[in-house]
């Protein structure tokens, strides 16, 4: 059905897990903010009852997302699905280019 030129507002939500040993410290948080800012969609990141703007480095820095923390990423906007996929990949696949605890302990030994 043609609904005229209504702006399509997709909402996507996904839970991700922090897999790098050092967690979401400032450098990964900045990578996240940079990645999120490439999209028009509004990005909200939640840890338990705390929800922050995924495009604000200050707010992302107060999440204290340690290794193993599960975060809920919510994207709202025309490119929500692409945004969610890019952010999931950054957190869980490339892991911000940082080692997992196992890789880190191997590096240290």
């Amino acid at each position: 059905m043609w609904t005229g030129d209504t702006v399509q507002n997709t909402v996507c939500e996904l839970e991700v897990e922090i897999k790098n040993a050092d967690g979401l410290h400032m450098r990964p948080a900045m990578q996240f903010v940079d990645a999120a800012s490439k999209f028009q969609a509004l990005i909200t990141v939640s840890k338990a009852e705390t929800s922050v703007d995924g495009k604000s480095i200050m707010q992302m820095s107060m999440l204290a997302a340690t290794y193993g923390t599960r975060l809920k990423i919510k994207a709202e906007g025309v490119d929500a699905a692409e945004a969610i996929e890019a952010l999931r990949e950054l957190v869980e696949v490339t892991k911000f280019g940082e080692p997992t605890p196992e890789e880190k302990s191997r590096q240290m030994s």
Binding site: A21, D22, G23, L24, H25, M26, R27, M30, S56, I57, M58, Q59, S61, M62, L63, A64, A65, T66, Y67
Partner: protein
Amino acid sequence: MKFAEFVCFEAVIPELQAKDRDGAITELVAAMDKAGRLGKGNCDKITRAVIKRENEASTGMGKGIAVPHVKHKAVKNVVAAVGQSSKGVDFAALDKQPVYSVVLLISPADDPDKHLQAMEQIFKHLQQEKFRKFLRQSQTAAQIEDLLKEADVNPSL
């Protein structure tokens, strides 16, 4: 984590002498060292490590604040120093504006969770305009200490 658990109140500087980033970092690390929090002979090494980290990416993240930090094996617990500058420090901040409040954080090399918990507390308050304003209005180390302790019991500050 509460401010009182990791801020070294003897390393609170109400008026930094430094006008630039490296000077401010040097001053704050020296204050922590003088308070005996960095172990023997680590002051210069830690200063250089913080500056190196800062060169990789600025922690001056706008709104007149900067949170230079590094993980270093010299410390067993997270420790922070706080410096204020009424004139502003050139910190190469992301928004190119001067920095008025600097929170320097040194974290142990092998306890990433503690580092994140200290950062959580720092940013929870620094992102609130009221807290930043009170920090900038503080004129003595005692006032800054009171403000941080007040923030520990008042999450809305």
